[in-house]
């Protein structure tokens, strides 16, 4: 039902938390899934990133893996993030893959938040 990768990430999420910096959320408790990301960028790379999640174990684990994969990347990567690789790594059952789009949305929102703030700085 739950792969070993889900179990590991669910039990020991090392990137759970909240940062000051850019942030993005998606979903709601009423929808059963609500996720939030926050990050800090340094030297054009994501230097710190955390997540918060209300959702099923697959959702929580997927957030953890998403953050893991994004750290050290350019912030633009957030915009292009798609859940396929994480879904595969975690063996997310098909009927649940829809939930991962909340992660995609939240990451885009996080990127927009960062992008807006960056533009602000240029002005």
């Amino acid at each position: 039902m739950y792969s070993a990768a889900v179990e590991q990430a669910f039990d020991h999420p090392v990137h759970a938390g909240d940062l000051s910096g850019a942030s993005g959320t998606a979903g709601s408790r009423a929808l059963g899934t609500e996720v939030a990301f926050s990050m800090q960028v340094a030297a054009g790379m994501i230097s710190q990133m955390t997540f918060q999640a209300y959702g099923c174990p697959h959702t929580i684990a997927a957030c953890e893996l998403a953050v893991e994969g994004l750290l050290g990347k350019a912030p633009e990567t957030l915009e292009k993030w798609v859940p396929d690789r994480v879904a595969q790594l975690l063996e997310v059952p098909v009927e649940k893959t829809g939930r991962l789009f909340f992660i995609q949305d939240a990451l885009r929102n996080c990127w927009q938040d960062w992008d807006t703030n960056k533009l602000d700085e240029r002005d």
């Binding site: 739950y2 669910f10 999420p13 759970a16 909240d18 959320t25 998606a26 979903g27 709601s28 408790r29 009423a30 059963g32 899934t33 609500e34 996720v35 939030a36 918060q52 999640a53 209300y54 959702g55 099923c56 174990p57 929580i60 909340f102 949305d105 939240a106 929102n109």
Partner: protein
């Protein structure tokens, strides 16, 4: 794995295993109870002795019991069988929205067939109002079905009072007692019950065998669901499973003998568990605070997603609703009928305790539960309902 899912099913009592294995291994009892030869008669006698013993435990007569494949079949046979048989008398039936699926779906079928069903709603504690029930009965009503103990919350309905109303209004009364046998005394005469469903596997007996009690004075006949051969007074054909029946009767006898102590002991454990986990902020007890069978503690915690909660408790055998519907992700219809939100219904855990539950197991369960709730809440975004964008 620590087992706290006794409401879903119970392990088979060792004494019952012995009886069944003896019966299976026996050179003598394997014969077909319908056979007229000596071996057949011996098996027949054993089954009839078991029927007699089980009947005695609920104050019924042996001829009033039908062996079935479980409470699901008993419920179906009672409800569909009685409604069909009495369809010329009236096509109105009464039940509640918190019944087990076997009851609910039997009524759904009848509804599709043109019967009118009054679905009673319980109060916030899960209790059906006697006034509502009496008000629902019309001249067209032929049957009321109300369960004794709810399988998700453990809430006890006042079947004695309902029986009195039904008898007075001359309506048949069916009780699903799958969860109550061995936890509460059952007396079909005292409580004026016309039909009663039992299952062995909720009381330390084997799965796949049950009983339907049919009051011999009140019920001339129900329409059978299965056809073929004259077994069980023509109401339930098929070769009787002697080992299952002897196993069920032994299990029910043991459970009945234990009635004086076991429920009391288990309810102490259950209260102990509630004391431990009740400290969690925003935890709610589902069901009536006191009118509950000994074995179930069902709680909802706010701001925790149900599947992750259950996954955090995965070293425990637990259910987050009726086992029978835990395949689906739908929030429990029973909890929703008590007014719980989707989230609270989904974020619920049913701890169900039994004969082999220990205090140490409950300590572990409570520790893990508290830790899981705390951790999941810490993990959650603080804001409520933030839209995307």
């Amino acid at each position: 794995m620590i087992y706290l899912d006794y409401a879903a099913t119970t392990p088979v009592d060792e004494n019952v295993v012995d009886v069944m294995c003896q019966c299976l291994g026996s050179q003598e009892l394997f014969a077909n109870t319908a056979s007229s030869h000596a071996a057949g008669r011996k098996a027949h006698k054993a089954v009839e002795a078991a029927r007699d013993r089980v009947a005695g435990l609920i104050n019924a007569a042996a001829r009033e019991l039908i062996w079935t494949s479980g409470a699901t079949e008993s419920d179906n046979l009672a409800i569909i069988g009685a409604a069909h048989f009495r369809r010329l008398r009236g096509k109105h039936l009464v039940t509640s929205v918190t019944e087990h699926k076997a009851v609910v779906d039997s009524f759904h079928l009848l509804e599709k067939e043109g019967f009118t069903i009054t679905w009673l709603h319980p109060d916030e504690f899960g209790v059906i109002s006697l006034q509502d029930l009496e008000a629902a009965i019309t001249d067209e009503t032929t049957l009321v079905s109300i369960m004794h103990v709810n399988n998700e919350t453990g809430v006890i309905q006042d079947i004695g009072a309902i029986g009195e109303i039904c008898r007075r209004r001359d309506v048949l009364f069916h009780v699903d007692a799958a969860q109550s046998f061995g936890r509460l005394p059952i007396d079909v005469r005292r409580d004026q019950i016309d039909m009663l469903s039992l299952s062995a596997h909720k009381a330390y007996g084997p799965k796949g065998v049950g009983v339907l009690f049919l009051d011999s004075e009140r019920i001339r006949r129900v329409e059978p669901l299965l056809h073929g051969g004259g077994h069980e007074r023509g109401l339930r054909p098929g070769t009787l499973a002697t080992h299952q029946i002897l196993g069920m009767s032994r299990a029910l006898e043991i459970a009945h003998q234990n009635l004086a102590q076991e429920p009391q002991h288990i309810s102490v454990l259950r209260d102990y568990l509630w004391q431990l986990v009740g400290v969690i902020p925003s935890i709610q007890l589902n069901g009536h605070p006191s009118r509950r069978a000994c074995h179930i503690l069902n709680v909802s915690v706010a701001d925790v997603e149900g599947e992750s909660l259950l996954y955090g408790m995965r070293n425990f055998a637990l259910s987050s609703g009726s086992a029978c519907i835990s395949d689906s992700a739908e929030p429990s219809y029973v909890l929703k009928s008590l007014g719980r939100s989707d989230q609270l219904a989904q974020g619920s855990i049913r701890f169900s305790l039994g004969r082999y539950t220990t205090r140490a197991e409950l300590d572990q369960a409570a520790d893990t539960f508290i830790a899981t709730v705390t951790r999941l809440r810490d993990l959650s975004p603080n804001q409520q309902s933030v839209g995307s964008g």
